[in-house]
């Protein structure tokens, strides 16, 4: 207990008079204070050594997977709006393999999901899910560093080997897909409401345009907002240095000080955009499409000419999973070209299976009316199937070498978003 004014007589009276319970509680607090040293080691270090050679990695894979068998069930944790609510894909999976799936949309954002599962994984307990989807970035790296993820047996991933796009087989955050394979990718660009914005924005500079004073939304996530500041200055985020961050922060601070920014959003920017509280905003590619489909809005999304970030949500198996074989079977199932196509038709994020485009195009040829229009739109959408030109403009999040570097980065940019 920390009572900085313990000498206050009123306080002492209140705490001691005729109140057995409280006095007892206080004694107990004294005991607990003695146990402070014990509590001090409440958060232990759990960093583990990573395999350094592929042979070593291979032996880890064999050690983990030997003796594991199919159990007939898998618990899948995913994000909202990441599958058709009728779950046609999962029904098909159960029909094909006999494995039942419990699908829960329990992941709202990476930090809180990490905070939720970390204590259980640290204690070696089950998190009740065999398969989960986490974005590349800080928390993904920490899951790997802490040894919480199962090394994947690629012999069990034939569809992935055959159908995944080359780009998705060698991502910088998990080279060789040791721990993860992509679920979907998306881009962070600029969304705008054409009702209020006459000239479509094309560059980062539009977010600094005084014309839109008080009507610009920015994201509060340090990585996302930093990237926009860096792009605006023509710096590649992945190669940026501390000096670059300071410059980007100054640029973002100027935008804030000029009153251009309405608010720093976590993820609830799409409704204010549709309502006209903000006119243009940083946004994730799929959100705009889904909002347009579900609410009949006419919001637009552009990749600014300076560049934009691409991120990848990845499927992975936590170390304490009860049904790893069923989980990896399901992971591979989503790399079936047909399944990937159907999924992309609904979620409208970038699919890691390029051949899915043909499936969607074929579906579009068969469909009529509104459906056909929609499917043609998906097959032709650069947000689902980015062109090489788009990819050339897309950059990844900054990977941090040390926690100190990360902390420095966060403190520079959070000074702007949480002032």
């Amino acid at each position: 207990m920390n009572h900085p004014h313990g000498k206050d007589p009123a306080f002492l009276r209140g705490m001691t008079q005729r109140r057995l319970g409280r006095r007892d509680a206080f004694r107990l607090a004294g005991l607990s204070a003695a146990g402070l040293a014990l509590a001090a080691c409440g958060v232990k270090g759990k960093g583990t050594a990573k395999p350094t050679s592929s042979a070593q990695a291979q032996s880890e894979v064999e050690a983990y997977w030997s003796g594991k068998t199919k159990n007939g069930h898998v618990d899948f944790a995913n994000w909202p709006l990441y599958m058709d609510p009728k779950q046609p894909e999962l029904k098909q999976f159960t029909k094909q393999t006999g494995i039942t799936v419990t699908y829960k949309e329990v992941i709202q954002d990476n930090p809180s999901w990490f905070a939720k599962i970390q204590p259980q994984l640290a204690a070696g307990q089950s998190i009740d899910y065999d398969l989960m989807v986490v974005t590349n970035g800080l928390h993904f790296t920490q899951l790997v560093q802490l040894g919480y993820l199962v090394p994947l047996d690629h012999a069990k991933l034939p569809n992935f080997t055959a159908n995944a796009g080359e780009r998705y087989k060698n991502e910088s955050f998990d080279p060789g897909n040791v721990y993860s394979i992509p679920w979907a990718s998306g881009m962070t660009g600029i969304a705008y409401n054409p009702k209020y914005v006459d000239t479509p924005p094309t560059s980062m500079a539009d977010l600094w345009n005084p014309k839109y004073k008080g009507k610009v939304g920015m994201m509060s996530d340090s990585q996302e907002i930093a990237n926009f500041g860096l792009f605006a200055l023509g710096i590649d985020p992945d190669k940026s240095t501390e000096a670059d961050w300071e410059k980007a922060a100054a640029k973002l601070q100027a935008q804030r000080d000029a009153g251009i920014v309405r608010k720093y959003y976590d993820q609830a920017y799409i409704d204010p955009l549709a309502k006209g509280d903000i006119w243009l905003t940083m946004a994730w590619s799929g959100d705009v499409f889904q909002k347009n489909v579900s609410d009949g809005t006419d919001l637009k999304f552009v990749l600014p000419k300076e560049g934009a970030t691409i991120w990848t949500d990845n499927m992975m198996i936590p170390k304490t999973a009860a049904n790893p074989v069923d989980a990896i079977t399901l992971m591979d199932f989503f790399y079936d070209v047909d399944v990937a196509g159907k999924l992309a038709e609904y979620i409208n994020y970038v699919t890691p299976v390029p051949a899915a485009k043909d499936v969607i195009a074929a579906d579009a040829a068969k469909a009529t009316g509104e459906d056909k229009k929609l499917l043609d739109m998906v097959a032709g959408s650069e947000l689902v199937f980015p062109t090489d030109d788009d990819y050339a403009r897309l950059r990844s999040y900054k990977n941090f070498a040390t926690p100190q570097e990360q902390k420095k980065f966060e403190s520079i940019f959070q000074a702007i978003t949480t002032a």
Binding site: A25, G45, Q145, G214, G276
Partner: protein, 287 residues
């Protein structure tokens, strides 16, 4: 034997509550205090190092947000007293046989989740929403006028969200006033204003005090209103703490800020109790 049993009875009665407090209040508080003095990071672990820097750095970096939270908390509490007192007074003295109906109506909106209520305010107050849309098209307010993303929106949200916790204790205090006391005041030729100022108001003060305790503390540490209704310059210390815990995983700074806030609130409450001339704060709060 029976004497022993009798002397043990109070302890037996206190046991569940004490155990509950110990497990869910004392231990977490001690762990938090310990955390606030540790240094390290999630991957490499935290170690107890008497790292007072979390306090120094936390306060020097976020003093603006701390002060803002106290100001918002105070402003919303004052608004609640101004709005709530007449309501409580009316229900207590003029409510008649329908008192419980009025109280229920008062509580009805609060059966809806806290976050949802705040979001519905966001809908209502949006730039072209139910309130401002018609006003703007009628030309009564300028086109770029907005309520959301201002201090007023956050303070208003706080005042709204905690209002019943202000009204109910005040109502209880007012309702307890014996009507004969008021009759006595009239018999002694007190005017209506005098009766109110010299009889009703002093007797209602414990209720006001309890109401302030129950609203000022949660309003000051709230983060939902600021994140839903606020803009770039309305961040409260609750938002910072949430950020430090969940996004940065900087547990020491988050804990240090929590303790700083707790200390400030305690100091504020006891100073307030003094100013009000209350002898025993907790006694009053327990009424």
């Amino acid at each position: 034997m029976s004497r022993l049993r009798a002397s043990l009875t109070p302890y037996a009665l206190l046991f569940p509550g004490t155990l509950w407090l110990a497990i869910f209040f004392v231990i977490p508080t001690v762990v938090m205090l310990s955390l606030s003095l540790q240094s390290g990071d999630v991957v490499n672990g935290y170690a107890f190092t008497f790292n007072w820097h979390s306090y120094v750095d936390g306060i020097s970096t976020y003093h603006d947000q701390i002060i803002r939270s106290l100001v918002y908390g105070l402003a919303s509490t004052l608004i609640q007293i101004v709005i709530g007192f007449p309501v409580a007074y009316w229900i207590a003295f003029k409510g008649g046989s329908r008192k419980s109906v009025y109280l229920f109506m008062l509580l009805l909106p609060f059966l809806v989740s806290f976050v949802l209520r705040t979001i519905s305010w966001q809908f209502f107050l949006s730039d072209n929403g139910l309130l401002l849309g018609p006003l703007k098209s009628a030309g009564l307010v300028p086109q770029d006028f907005h309520i959301l993303a201002t201090s007023a929106a956050v303070i208003g949200g706080l005042a709204y969200n905690f209002l019943p916790f202000m009204i109910l204790p005040m109502y209880v205090a007012l309702e307890r006033i014996d009507p004969r006391v008021l009759e006595a005041a009239q018999d002694l030729y007190a005017s209506k204003a005098q009766t109110f100022l010299r009889v009703v108001l002093p007797l209602s003060l414990p209720g006001v005090f309890a109401g302030v305790l129950m609203t000022f503390v949660p309003a000051t540490s709230d983060y939902v209103n600021a994140s839903v209704l606020g803009g770039t310059s309305n961040t409260m210390v609750g938002n910072v703490i949430q950020n430090q815990f969940l996004i940065n995983q900087d547990y020491p700074t988050a804990s240090a800020l929590s303790f700083t806030l707790m200390a400030l609130l305690l100091v504020g409450i006891f100073a307030y109790a003094r100013a009000l001339g209350t002898e025993d704060v907790l006694e009053v709060a327990a009424r």
